[in-house]
Symmetry: C2
Subunit: 387 residues, 2 copies
């Protein structure tokens, strides 16, 4: 097990009706809030009104930034930072899914930065003072509610980059599974795939001795497999929504990572797909994952795939190890298919002639140092297999 520094300071208010604590919570951190949200779905489900009521009841003044994109753009971040400066905002409240939360994090950092917020995305060490961030989550997927990270797109440069800073961890996140009832089947499936991919990126890794972390990773994977399907079929199943929501937070708050080295592979590849085509991140991950698994399966990784197959998919362990490994990969693919995720890059509108430029772009800073090192050629091979 590797050495680690554990710090998960975000407080969580989890469950039905926790929105009743929002006003008091925000008031502890400031009196002039920038409320950030996306395309208006929070109005449709009545959450916007509840939020405004809570803030008004607690004497918190509100300015708004709406229209955050599914892949949040740096132009929107800069707009939010500008509002913070002009309006003397002292706390940022994000209400929505991971995109809205990611946008809010960089807004909160950029509010105290003179210059283009894209600088902070490219170089997190430039982040200094960050406004306190509170979130109300409406989609179980990215884990942004409990971590330091944000992914921001720059459509001018076709770049989609991650950034992160300890100070960007939300102070408090409200997780009410009922606010995810209205999430579409498609987005529920994509969110489930996103959570699973976060776990895969830590699980398939070469460090030795992190047994506990591996068993916990399997706990989250089994939870996703069970409840992703239920939530897609019965969107108002509280138990399913609650398990997925808590899984999304634990998958990426550090618990899966502490003690391991991390070796992210599929996310860096997928980021190029959604940078170029604005496709749903979780869908891109689901499409690529089984093909990436096939690509990395070899004598050095087969035992890990056996562990995965036996512990997560309950595959009979008394078989040849490659048989088990391939069954595990097949089951992963079939599972995503059962969630009705389109399982090829062609189906989500990606053009074959763009694969090469995206593969080059994914490795523009060098090979992807993942579970198995991936060159541009390797990425292209995976993209082609997934086409």
């Amino acid at each position: 097990m590797n050495n680690f520094y554990y710090s998960i300071p975000t407080k969580i208010l989890f469950g039905k009706g926790q929105i009743e604590n929002l006003g008091q919570t925000v008031k502890q951190y400031g009196k002039r809030v920038l409320l950030i949200y996306g395309g208006g779905s929070i109005k449709k489900i009545g959450l916007y009104n509840k939020v405004m009521q809570q803030l008004a009841d607690n004497g918190v003044e509100v300015v708004e930034l709406s229209g955050v994109e599914p892949n949040p753009r740096i132009t929107t971040v800069n707009k939010g930072a500008q509002v913070c400066k002009e309006e003397g905002v002292d706390v940022v409240l994000a209400v929505g899914g991971g995109s809205t939360l990611d946008c809010a994090k960089v807004v909160a950092a950029a509010a105290n930065y003179e210059g283009d917020a894209w600088d902070l995305v490219k170089d997190a060490s430039k982040v200094k003072k960050v406004l306190p961030i509170i979130t109300v989550l409406t989609l179980a997927a990215t884990g942004s509610e409990m971590d330091a990270y944000a992914v921001i797109s720059n459509m001018e440069t076709n770049e989609k980059l991650g950034t992160g800073h300890e100070e960007m961890k939300p102070k408090v996140s409200i997780l009410d599974p009922e606010y995810t009832y209205s999430v579409s089947k498609y987005q529920t499936a994509a969110g489930t795939a996103d959570i699973m991919s976060h776990v895969f990126e830590e699980y398939f890794e070469r460090s030795e001795g992190a047994f506990l972390q591996n068993r916990m990773a399997e706990a989250i994977l089994k939870t996703c497999i069970k409840y992703g399907k239920i939530a897609v079929e019965s969107p108002e199943d509280y138990e399913a929504r609650a398990n997925l929501m808590w899984a999304s937070s634990l998958a990426l708050n550090g618990l899966m990572h502490y003690g391991k080295a991390g070796s992210w592979s599929v996310h860096p590849m997928e980021h190029e797909l959604s940078a170029f085509y604005d496709i749903t991140h979780g869908v891109g991950l689901a499409i690529l994952t089984p093909h990436w698994m096939k690509y990395v399966l070899d004598e050095t990784s087969v035992d890990k795939f056996v562990e995965y197959g036996v512990n997560v998919w309950d595959i009979d362990k008394n078989q040849d190890k490659y048989v088990i490994a391939k069954q595990a990969i097949q089951k992963t693919r079939e599972y995503f298919l059962s969630l009705e995720i389109p399982m090829s890059l062609r189906e989500v509108g990606i053009e074959e002639e763009k694969l090469e430029v995206m593969a080059r772009q994914a490795t523009r800073f060098g090979d992807i140092k993942g579970y198995k090192t991936l060159s541009a050629e390797a990425v292209l091979e995976i993209f082609k297999a997934a086409y």
Copy 2:
């Protein structure tokens, strides 16, 4: 899944050599420290000198409280609080196992309380300002390094009571598995049983829908089962010590509890054994656990035992459910035996004629509202079976 409020603010420095960060860490919280430790084993392993060096190098002044008992006593706590007041201590540093940490927590709370510290043990709501607490852990067992709780004994009244307060959570804990190399086989076995019991107390519980928490609980149990044995046999196996150490923290920092109601049964029974006889807590838990399991096994609990047996012990699921449940209980008992834990109350020196008074004492505030409600008669029946 039940609603919950998650707050785990303790930062962890985990792994070899983390002691190098102690001085800087303490300095962030104060400049005059009360160093609390037990019977001097920290001197034997060279840790005391390293701690003193770190504090000196960082200009931190030290006063000491040594001789904390294995079941820490309120007299010692009061002595520590007195020293804090007289010496103007502004930060408490506990170096040792759970007993030392527990003692330090109540010392840190009592330093700002006028009166007998026993008041704070009996009524945690009296805890107000608590001195910042830093810990260096030398025994994987109680989880005290990352939680709000402390158990203190009063030998005058034959009472052993738990107390807890959010402010009593350590600010930072240093967890270096190498400092547990010198823990005896007996204490390693007892510590493993303690960790497992913490998980059992949350796992065997009636709330519905906490699937993720249950799978994580199994992850910790499997970790204990694998590495408890290895650590007993090979005390300097880093991987085993590391997995047990991290398991001890995650078993009791709240992760297993959030979303569930909790239904502690074996701890309240065991506390009477060690209050009367000063036996090793984990040993008492190991002795009682299988008998408690047998006692609570019925039509309402059998499915839970099947879950436990199949998921943790890999018992063939294609059997009668009571067969699986009984095998699971038997395997639990055999496991503790394999760690060379004496598995009867008689063997640890408890007198049969005291069972009744201890059973009455365990239920003096009413029946134990555990997984199954336990009256004084029920507790006595379990004690007798375990004798």
